[in-house]
Symmetry: C2
Subunit: 244 residues, 2 copies
Amino acid sequence: MPDFAQVRRTSVSAAVFDQIAAQILDGRLAAGATLPPERVLTEEFGVNRQALREALQRLDQLGLVEIRHGGATRVRDYRRSAGLDVLPRLFLRQDGTIDVDIVRSVLEMRTAIGADAAALSAARMPAPLLDELHELVAGLAAVDGDDVARLASIDGHFWDLVVDGSGNVCYRLSLNALRRAYQSVEPIVDRLMLDERRDVAGHGAMISAIAAGDAAAARDAAFQLLSQGNAAMLRHFHDPEENL
Amino acid sequence: MPDFAQVRRTSVSAAVFDQIAAQILDGRLAAGATLPPERVLTEEFGVNRQALREALQRLDQLGLVEIRHGGATRVRDYRRSAGLDVLPRLFLRQDGTIDVDIVRSVLEMRTAIGADAAALSAARMPAPLLDELHELVAGLAAVDGDDVARLASIDGHFWDLVVDGSGNVCYRLSLNALRRAYQSVEPIVDRLMLDERRDVAGHGAMISAIAAGDAAAARDAAFQLLSQGNAAMLRHFHDPEENL
DNA sequence: ACGCAAGAGTGGTCTGACCACTTGACCAAG
DNA sequence: CTTGGTCAAGTGGTCAGACCACTCTTGCGT
């Protein structure tokens, strides 16, 4: 079995972006500090000004720096200015360790969003999506219990439909961001989430409540379902921060 | 009385970014479509390639397009790839109208997040922050009931402390994104949120529950408090989408 | 002490060239 | 017919150097 690792193709501007972002997120570049002028950074990184500027533009878009024409580029306080898009870089630090606080935060948020989306979809879920959900759960029961990839796919699709059915765009966008947060450690997550994802009864109870239009029951079922994975994740990441 | 509008000094790359982003978010540029080559876009926009590229890099960072070295730049399905950072542009459409569905989504999410943050902070809130909260509510009672700016400031600070005290980074980052969503219509929001923000009893009940470590009560109090603004906002934006 | 003009320093834009990668057409060997 | 390789055209990526637009500080003049 080959099992090769994917070759990483990194552009110059992306490399610059990564370096600066990492320094801001781990505090080496403090909020309020001014970045050196572009022409100086150009020399330090050994890259062209255009490549450097593309990196800075991305950092600005992310809320990590503030660029002002004529003035200096300053480091912003990402806790006040950034969005969920920085999560992946907070989750997995540059030295390869995992931040437990971020793990907990992500789990709490997915629970709150997931539960509320389930409750909302009890009132709004369109019939076609509901049919798809039933098929998914039926398919879930037929999956080999150890096929982590297939379980991840079905469970992912399951929540996509629930969130879509909730009609809440914010939840839809948040889900994208949260997933990306632990994408870098997908293999571990796939293993830890195994029990939650193959819980046919749990998934079934949830869509039953949604189909019945019982918002409270749907919220409860979602909470129960998600709590399984939360417990498994926290148990694993609690003490050793560097488990990979 | 002058009442002039603020001059918008927009850079070239920002203007290009705005145009493309708007076309993607309102569907004129469909997901999966390929953008013209950079050299062609350069001519159509009448700008330099560097400026154009900076705009494209930002769009990629936002999850609106996918740039591939050697291949064409494609429009992505922002519902699957973007984060909460696109909310401001979904909230206020380019023609100046407001999307009611987005308003509702934002309100639902702020409620879910706010209530959960309150519940979490009941267990985690550090003493210093709690003291600050008490001072804030005391100050709230002393504010002139029509000073919308001051009320907005105090209420904003109030929730900052609650979310900080919850110790959940995701909620902190989400709050940033949600606020930015309706920042463009701040005056209206300030007026509609008036009753919620000057509800001294509601704020007081919430921090009392937090101080007592009663998570369930804190969640309830937060929910009650936030529901006031939700009702006012939905009442106002329900039918006429273009109210300004 | 104050106001303001000038200069230095910063980010913003432009030009034109070349490099690196992807794609598809075409061809040769199996 | 399939497979693999070659090649050329088209795409994004990077580079160089110059100039424009804005901000901030300095120091002069009042």
